[in-house]
């Protein structure tokens, strides 16, 4: 009996070993960003090194033109290019994205390997430490076995020491799938907690980007594979035109995404009425409802339609990071999607993100500043005046008072802004709620001689 009992702890250990690798050490928490196409190093950033940066270097592409058109090639390609400028990070991962909801053919693996080789050389020349390659492939859950086979073959083609990371859809982790086979072929995986509600870009999904992280439920799920993982958190925003549900002839899915629309483009237009709410992920949802026919870009909107903005907030980031921290085991940190472009208003700035996540203190700078760009006029001095706000949307109207050191000859305001001269050398800029964000071109100021400009905010 005693001999039998003695076997129990040994058996327990063995069983535990099936679920958790006994050789895994506790993970060091890291914070990272995805640096995507459109991300820019021109954004406001203190330049302190990041822990990790996942850089989208290229795409896996499948050309589906008939062979008669595309010639003798297989139609598969994998191309990559290291961005000329990158934020400083201790580790870099090279991300290849496949745009189809499918698993790429094995034929493309040598091309990926070639491209990775070139990237590694280029990164070496620049002194960048590359930890590995990440694949951003939205494999259907039913194709995970095929995806595992793909990753296995890819590993054989990559140079020694290059790790493999993958992004992961939450649907893969429900019971009965082959996600374990996939994760076995990787060194780490990154479940993404955004764009989950309903089908991507469905009506359901339009009011939310981020998803709640249920640490208690998902922690054991992710940890059972014994592999390092990070959690992907959304810090970006989106603008969508949503048609009326009863609108005839609009067709499925009844919405249109605007790539470069910002609240300031809509808010000063009296044809819209604003409603705001916070969704389950604590993101801010701005709904500008159309009250009369109006034209935005090349589209005519009718009453009842809506332009909707969903944006991450410090609260949504803080909540997500706090939830992520409650996951232990092989949890290695968070990755934020994504590093913004330099003219974006809907994505949070890196400093904001890290402050919201409690990973660095709030900076002491004023939440707004002014800068000018010389227009190189000869007979007068002309400058474009920009106000840059480094804080998230204000729920109230914001007024900026801009002062010039000399009298203004005149001021040419940007069309969609409410700017007026309140004195010979003073301007007042009024921004509607939720529009005091990012870099705003106020207009062109003309003076006889060069002037200096200052800004104050009133609320």
């Amino acid at each position: 009996m005693r001999a039998l009992l003695a076997l129990v702890p040994i058996a327990s250990l063995a069983l535990a070993g099936c679920a958790v690798s006994l050789s895994s050490a506790p993970q060091v928490w890291t914070t990272g960003f995805w640096f995507w196409k459109g991300s820019s190093t021109g954004v406001t950033w203190s330049n302190e090194p990041l822990d990790v940066l996942f850089v989208q270097v290229g795409n896996i592409h499948h050309e589906t033109w008939p062979a008669l058109v595309r010639g003798p090639s297989s139609g598969w390609s994998a191309n990559g290019e290291l961005p000329r400028r990158l934020p400083e990070a201790r580790d870099y991962w090279l991300v290849y994205r496949y745009d189809r909801q499918d698993v790429p053919d094995l034929k493309v693996i040598p091309m990926i390997a070639d491209s990775v080789g070139g990237m590694l050389f280029a990164a070496g020349e620049r002194g960048l430490h590359v930890a590995g390659v990440q694949l951003d492939i939205d494999s259907p859950t039913g194709s995970l076995a095929q995806y595992a086979a793909f990753l296995r073959e890819l590993r054989k083609s990559l140079p020694d020491g290059v790790q493999i990371s993958i992004t992961a859809l939450l649907d893969w982790f429900r019971s009965g799938t082959e996600v374990g086979a996939v994760i076995r072929e990787t060194d780490e995986f990154v479940p993404q907690f955004y764009d989950l509600v309903g089908e991507p870009y469905s009506h359901e999904g339009l009011s939310a980007i981020g998803a709640r992280i249920d640490a208690a439920r998902l922690g054991p799920v992710f940890n059972r594979f014994g592999k390092r993982f990070r959690v992907g958190i959304s810090t970006f925003g989106r603008a969508v035109e949503v048609s009326r549900p009863d609108a005839p002839g609009r067709g499925y899915p009844g919405f249109r995404i605007y790539g470069d629309l910002a609240p300031i483009d809509i808010a000063t237009n009296p044809a819209f009425q604003l409603q705001t709410e916070s969704n389950e992920a604590k993101e801010l949802v701005l709904r500008y409802r159309v009250m009369r026919n109006v034209r935005i870009s090349y589209n005519t909107l009718e009453p009842g339609e809506t332009i909707q903005f969903v944006v991450a907030t410090p609260e949504s980031v803080r909540t997500a990071v706090d939830s992520a921290r409650r996951i232990t085991g092989h949890m290695a940190g968070v990755v934020f999607f994504r590093w913004p472009g330099d003219r974006e208003t809907l994505a949070m700035q890196p400093g904001e993100v890290l402050s919201a996540a409690g990973l660095r203190p709030e900076d002491g700078q004023a939440p707004y500043r002014i800068h000018t760009v010389d227009g190189h006029c000869v007979a007068v001095s002309c400058v474009d005046v920009f106000v840059e706000s480094t804080r998230l949307f204000s729920a109230k109207e914001v007024r900026y008072r801009i002062r010039a050191s000399t009298e203004l000859e005149y001021f040419l305001p940007e069309k969609k802004l409410t700017v007026r001269m309140t004195g010979p050398s003073e301007l007042e800029l009024s921004l509607p709620p939720y529009c005091a964000r990012g870099i705003i071109l106020v207009g062109r100021a003309v003076t006889v001689n060069r002037a200096e400009f200052t800004v104050e905010a009133e609320q």
Partner: protein
């Protein structure tokens, strides 16, 4: 016309429209008010080529026909196999064998021996790459040795060219560039001018980049090298992305260093061959860096009889320094000198003419402003000049504006009518005077001086506008007759308005100037280069032109008055109906949407009563 031809013509028209739509159009106006116009002229490799350099055209080493069986023939044949292939690796074995055979042939002449040695160096050059430079270094040594000992001029020239290429492949920009530059102007060079210009472009691009700035000192061995390097390094840049502050200007940061070099090597640049160089280079550097006082000081201290004062670049930079300092009158003399100089190219003359337009606009001399704007119009047409880029491209010199809108505005509104008349009277022989006369006739019609306008149209054989204006003059006279009853006079006014409404864009609108783009030239409310007074005057001028040139609006005003005077009569009703029709047809370029809407409502309501 058969259907196939119609189809073809239609296709051509459609393609043309598509091309025009895709390509856009030049929309520059008053560019002398932009600092960009006054930048020093951008220089390219061809700017440094002296004219009439006699060149040789001998076959390169190894490239003559290899017909025989001699070792040299075999070497030539073997070399010619690799002579065109630059990127693919080749088997050197047969080449080395052939080379050894040729070197061992005691029957070779001295020239043939040199050819063999040069081929030897070229083989190493072709075998080498930037990634594996050892063979390139070997080629360099062989070519340098060759240049020390060889005598055949065409082989020497060729060897210099290859040595430059080796330097280029090894990343030695200065060494490569200096050789190419010397060969460009060397009498008897065996390298074509085209090859050398392309090579220089390849080595330096637009401004030589950071490598040129870092190695500037190496160019101060000859005045020509120094002038080349400084000129390229100070090629103008025009940063047009308004959303972010300008990136650090490398050349501006090197200003102090460039000035220091110029001062340190002043003697070199003041030598006989470099006499022009120092003043020009220091002016160019100062202007490029925005140091206007320094540029002016240099211009003013150059002796009156110095040769440099006849250089187009000197005139241009002097004028720039003054204009950018807002001393507009002082810019006139150097611009006139540039315009009249036999050394000036067509582009430079055009820049001078356009600059003078700016000077005269600022000094209020509209007559001369018109003269030079008209000259520009003629010169561009006669010489087939064109800018191969739109007015908006960065970095390139803007010599003049392709749009021609400066002349358009002068003729339409900026030059007073009397001044236009005086110009025509005083300049009977000037090219394209007809453009001015036509504009004058249009302006006269706007002032209701129809008889004068008609006569002028007749004198310039405007065979469509002439008769039309005569008809209008007759109708106008009818409206002024004292011997008519009120009703008859009203009827005359109606007929005149009716005539105007049937001829939109054919009476008061100058169809000779804008080519469909007039509304784009209305920039008064958005042009930030004007002073407040200039801006207000321009906005007023634009509004007046819009009002004066719109036949349908003028017809409407006449009809509105007729309605008021005719009251509820048949004539009144006809006038109101025609008035509404006129308002509905007015072009969007006219503006006054609210006035049009109000007028339409008023007349429509009157008709319903």
């Amino acid at each position: 016309m058969n259907s196939r031809r119609v189809f073809r013509l239609g296709g051509v028209a459609l393609a043309g429209l598509g091309l025009a739509w895709a390509c856009g159009f030049d929309n520059t106006l008053r560019e002398y008010l932009s600092a960009r116009f006054w930048l020093p002229f951008a220089k390219r490799s061809w700017s440094f080529a002296k004219p009439h350099i006699r060149r040789t055209s001998a076959a390169y080493a190894g490239m003559t026909a290899a017909a025989g069986d001699k070792p040299l023939d075999k070497l030539r044949a073997a070399y010619q196999q690799i002579a065109q292939v630059e990127t693919e690796a080749f088997d050197e074995g047969p080449l080395r064998q052939a080379l050894a055979g040729a070197k061992g042939d005691r029957s070779l002449t001295a020239r043939e021996r040199e050819e063999v040695n040069l081929i030897d160096a070229k083989i190493d050059m072709r075998a080498g790459t930037s990634e594996e430079p050892e063979r390139l270094e070997s080629a360099k040594k062989k070519l340098e040795a060759f240049l020390r000992t060889a005598r055949t001029p065409e082989f020497l020239s060729e060897a210099r060219g290859w040595l430059a290429r080796v330097h280029y492949l090894l990343g030695e920009q200065a060494a490569a560039g200096k050789i190419y530059l010397d060969e460009l102007n060397r009498v008897g060079s065996n390298l074509t001018q085209e090859t050398l210009l392309n090579s220089l472009q390849m080595v330096y691009g637009y401004d030589g980049g950071p490598q040129l700035l870092a190695h500037l000192d190496e160019y101060f061995d000859t005045p020509e090298h120094a002038a080349f390097a400084i000129t390229l390094a100070t090629n103008p840049h025009w940063y047009r992305d308004a959303w972010t502050p300008e990136p650090p200007d490398r050349a501006a940061q090197a200003y102090a260093r460039i000035r220091g070099l110029l001062e340190k090597h002043a003697e070199l640049l003041q030598s006989n061959t470099g006499a022009n160089a120092l003043a020009l280079l220091t002016m160019r550097t100062a202007l490029r860096m925005g140091d206007l006082p320094e540029a002016r000081k240099i211009a003013e201290t150059v002796p009156a009889d110095a040769a440099v004062r006849s250089e187009p670049d000197f005139h241009w930079m002097s004028a720039s320094a003054y204009f950018l300092s807002r001393e507009y009158a002082s810019a006139e003399a150097p611009l006139l000198a540039l315009f009249r100089s036999p050394k000036s190219s067509n582009d430079q003359k055009a820049a001078a003419a356009y600059g003078l337009c700016g000077v005269y606009q600022k000094t209020g001399n509209v007559m001369e402003q018109l003269r030079y704007a008209l000259w520009l119009h003629t010169a561009v047409r006669k010489n087939g000049m064109y800018l191969s880029y739109s007015g908006d491209i960065t970095d390139y010199t803007l010599y003049w504006n392709s749009s021609g809108w400066d002349l358009g505005w002068l003729l339409e509104a900026e030059v007073p009518l009397e001044t236009l008349q005086t110009f025509v009277e005083q300049n009977p022989g000037v090219d394209d005077l007809r453009v001015v006369q036509y504009a004058l006739a249009v302006r006269l019609t706007r002032e209701e001086r129809y008889d004068e306008a008609a006569e002028l149209y007749d004198s310039i054989h405007a065979i469509v506008r002439g008769p039309r204006t005569h008809r209008l003059a007759a109708l106008y006279r009818e409206t002024k007759r004292d011997d008519l009853s009120d009703a008859q006079r009203l009827e005359a006014r109606y007929r005149m308005a009716e005539f105007l409404s049937a001829n939109p864009d054919r009476i008061y609108f100058n169809d000779n100037l804008w080519h469909g783009f007039q509304s784009y030239a209305f920039q008064g409310d958005t042009d930030s280069r004007l002073t407040r007074a200039e801006r207000e005057a321009q906005i007023e001028r634009e509004r007046k032109l819009q009002d004066d040139q719109e036949e349908l609006w003028r017809a409407y005003l006449m009809l509105r008055d007729a309605v008021r005077d005719a009251r509820k009569t048949d004539l009144g009703r006809r006038a109101a109906a025609l008035g509404v029709s006129c308002l509905r047809q007015i072009s969007s370029r006219f503006g006054r949407e609210e006035d049009i809407r109000r007028g339409e409502v008023e007349l429509s309501a009157w008709l319903r009563r």
